[in-house]
């Protein structure tokens, strides 16, 4: 008997706590013109990473344009495919958005998520920025230019070790482009993300590291590492003294500028009026001076693609990355399986 009483007590107390929490956290919902209530933006990487940093630059500006509250939810996992899948599983009403990046383009080829394609399953509201990877060596390195570095790698295949943020990431693919186009051969040492790879080059644990310029530039200025070249054809604004790969190796020019893209995505089943509303708001966002300043601060190249234009851009980007990965043997699946055309 006392057991039953006890069980009841447990039950009652559980129900009380749960209902209290539900009351505290349930938002009111009203149906009216979009956007009526707060919008949730999902980011597939942890706070502090590049996708998160850029997303957190865009979302507050969009919040002002749309005049509703916008929350950011970090949902890391499976190279952002977990968050992407989550957004697609929500109602396609524009209240769950996805701030995505180039990782989407290798989901299929790297076997991370074989069902999701960035331009067939998502609607790209607006692609806003590109980042630039650079090649850097330790401060005391014998190499002073990208040419010396590449020449050495051609003469001594596999001897130079390049730290990357992990298999299939932009730094890895950038290095593979050098191998494929220039006939050099490197040993890639994958680290757990970009920060440890930068640390590794600063401590001379590897011969070089390829990472985004914004996470290297402070160390470069403090002489804790030497940036040899950027993966672009034109010099970067504010960093004109750093040579470009396109300038030094004309055979790379068709692959450059190579860098990750960032943009706002939604479910492709979004109603047309919601698409229009989001796109016009994003147009205003990227025209603001604050966005200009934000891009300058992080050395981001501004881009402005939406709709069909964005799909073309994504298709081109995906095909370049996927085929480089496949041709150099780093990919798990052939891009042909997913109808990804050769570049």
């Amino acid at each position: 008997m006392s057991y039953i009483i006890k069980f009841k007590r447990y039950l009652i107390s559980t129900i009380l706590v749960i209902s209290l929490l539900l009351v505290a956290f349930t938002p009111g919902t009203v149906n009216a013109e979009y956007p009526e209530r707060s919008i949730n933006v999902f980011i597939g990487f942890s706070a502090g990473g590049p996708t998160d940093v850029i997303g957190r630059g865009v979302v507050p500006l969009l919040e002002e344009e749309l005049d509703v509250g916008m929350g950011i939810t970090n949902m890391p996992g499976a190279a952002s495919a977990t968050a992407g899948r989550h957004v697609l599983n929500q109602k396609a009403d524009g209240y769950s958005l996805f701030f995505g990046s180039e990782a989407m383009s290798v989901w299929q080829t790297m076997g991370i998520n074989e069902e999701l394609n960035p331009y067939e399953d998502f609607y790209p509201v607006k692609l806003v920025a590109e980042a630039t990877p650079v090649l850097a060596v330790p401060p005391n390195s014998e190499f002073d230019s990208a040419e010396e570095f590449v020449d050495y790698a051609i003469e001594n295949p596999g001897e130079l070790r390049i730290g990357t943020a992990g298999p299939g990431t932009v730094p890895h693919v950038s290095g593979l482009i050098l191998e494929k186009q220039l006939g050099a051969e490197f040993t890639f040492v994958p680290y757990q993300g970009g920060a440890p790879a930068v640390t590794a080059v600063m401590g001379s644990q590897v011969d070089a590291t390829i990472e985004m310029v914004q996470s290297m530039v402070e160390a470069h200025k403090a002489n804790k590492l030497k940036i040899l070249a950027t993966f672009t054809n034109e010099p970067l604004k504010g960093l004109e003294s750093i040579p470009t790969f396109g300038d030094q190796f004309p055979e790379l020019q068709s692959y450059l500028p190579y860098g990750p893209y960032f943009g706002l995505f939604a479910s492709k089943d979004l109603p047309q009026d919601v698409k229009d509303k989001l796109e016009s708001a994003m147009n205003k966002v990227i025209a603001t001076q604050r966005w200009d300043e934000y891009c300058e601060k992080f050395y981001l190249t501004q881009i402005d693609y939406s709709g069909e234009e964005a799909v073309d851009y994504l298709r081109g980007w995906t095909s370049r990355a996927a085929w480089v990965l496949y041709d150099t043997g780093a990919a798990k699946n052939s891009p042909a399986e997913f109808n990804i055309p050769k570049p």
Binding site: L21, G48, A78, A81, T82, V206
Partner: protein, 489 residues
């Protein structure tokens, strides 16, 4: 940077940590996982203040229930029961608690000094820590499973292997291939150790307690405030002596990845027992030194654990593993570059630790009586509350419902392990350190090019060689002094 708000958050953190830490079954690790999930919406500095405070309060809270109930509130207070409870039976509970609080404050302040001095030194060296160094540092941590398994070595090894196995699930760190995921989305991201921790420490405790019939027997003691205050008499003088060795021992043990206050306090106790020939009373019968030594050692371990976490980005113990996760979450990047780029946060953390330690002392003096009342909260209030916090904590980590399912799975596993008398801490150690060992080993192999040059690099890299010598040394040390502690238990 230190504002009134931050100090207030620090104080609230201490109080909540103290309350939760003193509840039997709510370990510091568990307390911290729940506390961290409360801070998701906070700003970085307030979150830091709250988390750091809760850690300091949590360890001290553990001693309260160790002395009053003979149930260590946390694993780090196990050694405190050896002499703390006999003291209580002699009617000296208040003195014992007073000594414990005093000793832990001294130990805590010592460890902050240690962190302030050693932190920058290791920070300077941190860039020379390559894959080989990380490999041996984490292997060293793993080798201490012998200690966590509390006597039954085989069971400890089995638990640890399970942890290592769980650590291999998910994306291969070198090739990017998926391992052991059975094509399921749920397992692709691997098993997050915080989820496993919430399950194995929090949910398990709920299940174990549901199974138990008796409520906690709460002591009816009252601690007179005046009796808790430190006095300049022989008791306090004699308890100050162990600080000479307990401080350094605790701090150094805290430095080793995966080990912290729990091991620190046992070693501190064992060492004190070996060294002090004339304690106030024989050890185990209510020696004041026997209360002071483990308290000093486990608080000193805090500084060591923080040092490893901040400068190398490796969790010093399971609690700092949770704290490390929360730092990443709030945008701080502990690791080799932390001392270069975020030095001001290093000093902020030191300041907060100092303030938190003092707060803990005050809260302990003023609040111990009230805490004993809190301990008499009936379980039918407490358990559902903990269970729900476990669900919220695991969901809020990455807003992923799969984590809640995993957490419950680990809870059931923890319950079964508890029934079979298998230790669960080695599982966590395996999950946290296993992937670092694997990644470092394979990175080192890629970096050196061949097995023979890898083996050569173990001898030619000075820091690696030092760590290897330390590992060998710690094995020899374990076999003599550690052995006597284990026999006690």
């Amino acid at each position: 940077m230190i504002s009134f708000t931050i100090i207030l958050y620090n104080l609230v953190g201490v109080i909540i940590g103290f309350i939760m830490g003193s509840m039997p079954g709510l370990t510091v690790t568990m307390t911290m996982t729940l506390i961290v999930s409360l801070t998701f919406g906070f700003g970085m500095e307030t979150a830091l203040a709250f988390i750091v405070g809760a850690f300091a309060g949590g360890i001290a809270g553990g001693s309260l229930s160790a002395i009053a109930l003979n149930i260590p509130g946390t694993a780090a207070s196990v050694a405190t029961t050896f002499d703390g409870h006999p003291l209580k039976n002699r009617g000296e509970a208040a003195t014992a608690l007073g000594v414990a609080l005093f000793a832990s404050t001294i130990g805590g302040l010592m460890s902050i000094v240690f962190l302030a001095i050693i932190g920058p030194i290791i920070g300077d060296l941190a860039l020379s820590f390559g894959s080989q160094e990380y490999l041996f540092l984490t292997l060293w941590g793993l080798s201490l499973i012998a200690f966590l398994s509390k006597g039954d070595f085989i069971k400890g090894i089995i638990s640890a292997c399970l942890g290592l196995f769980v650590g291999t699930i998910g994306m291969d760190p070198i090739t990017g291939a998926m391992r052991l995921t059975f094509g399921s989305d749920m397992l692709m991201g691997g098993v997050h150790f915080v989820v496993a921790m919430i399950g194995l420490f929090g949910m398990k405790e709920v299940l174990v307690n549901l199974d138990r019939k008796a409520d906690f027997s709460v002591s009816k003691d009252n601690f007179k405030f005046s009796k808790l205050l430190p006095k300049f008499n022989d008791i306090y003088k004699s308890t100050l002596k162990p600080i000479l060795w307990c401080g350094p021992i605790g701090s150094i043990i805290g430095l080793i990845p995966g080990t912290g206050g729990d091991i620190g306090s046992l070693v501190g106790y064992g060492f004190t027992k070996q060294i002090m020939k004339n304690p106030s009373r024989p050890f185990g019968e209510g020696a004041y030194e026997g209360v002071a030594a483990p308290e000093m050692a486990n608080h000193s371990a805090m500084g060591g654990a923080y040092t490893t976490m901040l400068t190398l980005g490796i969790p010093g113990d399971s609690v700092t593993a949770v704290i490390l996760g929360s730092f990443y979450l709030h945008g701080l990047q502990p690791g080799p570059t932390f001392m270069i780029t975020e030095r001001k946060y290093f000093y902020l953390i030191i300041a907060l630790l100092g303030i938190g330690t003092i707060f803990t002392y005050l809260v302990g003096l003023l609040g111990s009586n009230a805490m004993l009342r809190v301990l008499s909260i009936p379980r039918w209030v407490l358990l559902p509350f903990i269970a729900i916090l476990c669900v919220i904590g695991s969901y809020a980590l990455q807003n992923n419902l799969n984590h809640v399912y995993m957490m419950i799975g680990f809870g059931v596993l923890g319950y079964l392990f508890d029934k079979a008398k298998f230790p669960v801490s080695p599982i966590i150690l395996g999950i946290i350190l296993g992937p670092i060992v694997e990644r470092s080993f394979r990175q080192a192999l890629i970096n050196t090019g061949s097995v023979s040059s890898l083996l050569m690099s173990f001898v030619t890299r000075p820091i690696t060689l030092i760590i290897i010598i330390l590992i060998v040394g710690s094995f020899i040390f374990q076999s003599s002094i550690f052995g006597t502690v284990l026999e006690e238990k």
